[in-house]
Subunit: 132 residues, 6 copies
């Protein structure tokens, strides 16, 4: 199995609902350093998993929809906690949709799965992996 | 599949038995930077894999039983080599026990597996992953 | 010259005033991974720059005053841009005050300077260094 | 499942064929920081996955065959793009061959799989994993 | 003293002249992860050392003149060893020229010094710092 | 001013004297990831600060005198606390002596200063810098 990972980041504000979150119930923020990993069993005719330039661009566009925003004001997240693990799923799902739409190139349709890791600090991170 | 990882560290002394270990047969030591990863298929009602505060506390307690000690003097390790991979299993098993006892919260009982990585230097690390 | 550095982090929301900040004028957030460095020409009688436990505690307390907050609501920052470099100065100044008050121990009064670095992402960080 | 990883690096020149590679079609170069991971279900009689010294030596030898070279001049890669993912497979396959030849020791024959990750920068890396 | 650092990278081929370089006399390559640090005694009216967006853009442009190239073919380096430390000076000098030309903004003229670090691997890096 | 840094590591056991050290008064251990930085105002005739191979070898030899040992048994440290900052000075002084003896090459006599940083974990490190 082959994999390629590209890294970018986003900086957002948000707050959490639920006593378990303690002081994180207050409006605060996070830098998420985001790793997007694409896996497939065999390389394409260019000998790559995915065009790394297109993968990087796709990740930048997906993060751009969230970057420099207060997620509490985003209708897509109304009534849900935008936890690190949940945001990892949002990014993975949006990347998967772009792949299926052909935005990462025709050969990228051979990608088997996408995994996204959001690093919220030097001591905590969360991931979500899904099939395509 | 979702995952959350928290990081902490411990500083221990130990020695190894067996010619294969060369100079590491002498009493020496290591800082282990420890990553504990918790995985589950679906998030709980708070939209998280596990309460990250409780996960961090549990890891600190487990590492506290080993930290600032000479492992050669720990009865739990009599007659065994406390290799990095073996210590990864010790930490994972002790975290698993705490999860099963409910110490990470009721919803943490939904965690499917625990993986622990011990980084012994910038050029070597070892892991152990187990189901719950 | 000797130096000791300890690392911690904080997660805040804020916004910036000024066209130069572009989309960062919107309410957003950041994780700051914070390194506090203490320097002195000679070690104290325990052979250290500062008790690393006390230094870690002092940094945690100083960051705790800012952590999990919207800095736009903090009266201390009314009318000023809480840029990464400005926040580095805030943390350094507050650590310096604690040193001068003896909170890091009597021998810590021998510390010559404090430098604070705030990492806002994997590709950008800012620092401030001052004498005591 | 247990795993041990060792890290080393190599510095090579190469060029790519195909419009998708854009400016990387020109002769350029890369430092690959290489992580080799060995996995097995149970530890050997010394309580390790593999003798870490021998694993480190094997990785150094395999990388030494590529290091400080222009891969465009290596007959082994005639007519193929030496992409990061393809080079990860080359390193993994060569390590696998050394394991099967007993060069990592008799007990290393119990290793179940090898995974190799090549980091080409702070924002991109690729991996290949195979069974033995 | 304040400082701001931004990070980018470049991937080049080159060779060295001189027996001291051993196998690095052959044509090979490197990824340089490049940190550019800007220092000044006081912040500007926006409370920053430099507009981080403009600093990032300037670094990208400077690295773009070298990226994906064989430095042995660059007339600017005829007859000189493009060592990591020498390339750090090239990047710093070119950034300094852009600052003096006002490309990082008027207030950037208050920058006192530029330091550039090139990381050639996880175990070696080189720097050059100069006044403006 | 130019600088070159090389990285290696050592794994030692030791204990501390003094109540301030708390549980670290017990015999424990540490991995020190060690960065040795060499600075000079002008490059030598090969366009380098120091032959990076020789610098790496010198660091390995100096760390080899301490590696895989219990520092409490080393006569050189009788009656002193082998704190991270004190060990940074030991490594820097021993490197300085090797430079003055010509072991890093004739041109290395032009090195102006040596700085050594010992990383004891992901959240703490100490340095010592001295002139030659």
């Amino acid at each position: 199995m082959f994999a390629v990972t590209v890294r970018d980041h986003m900086m957002v504000a948000h707050s959490f609902q639920g006593e378990v979150f303690g002081p994180a119930q207050r409006l605060h923020g996070a830098t998420y350093v985001v790793d997007a990993t694409f896996r497939r069993a065999a390389l394409d005719s260019d000998n790559v998993v995915v065009d790394i330039g297109r993968a990087t661009d796709a990740l930048r566009v997906v993060l751009g929809e969230l970057n420099y925003r207060n997620l509490d004001d985003d209708a897509a997240f109304a009534g849900v906690n935008t936890s690190t693990e949940m945001l990892a799923k949002v990014v993975a799902d949006r990347l998967a949709e772009r792949i299926s739409q052909g935005e990462l190139g025709e050969s990228a349709r051979g990608i088997a799965s996408v995994a996204v890791t959001l690093h919220e600090s030097h001591v905590a991170w969360a991931s979500y992996e899904r099939l395509l």
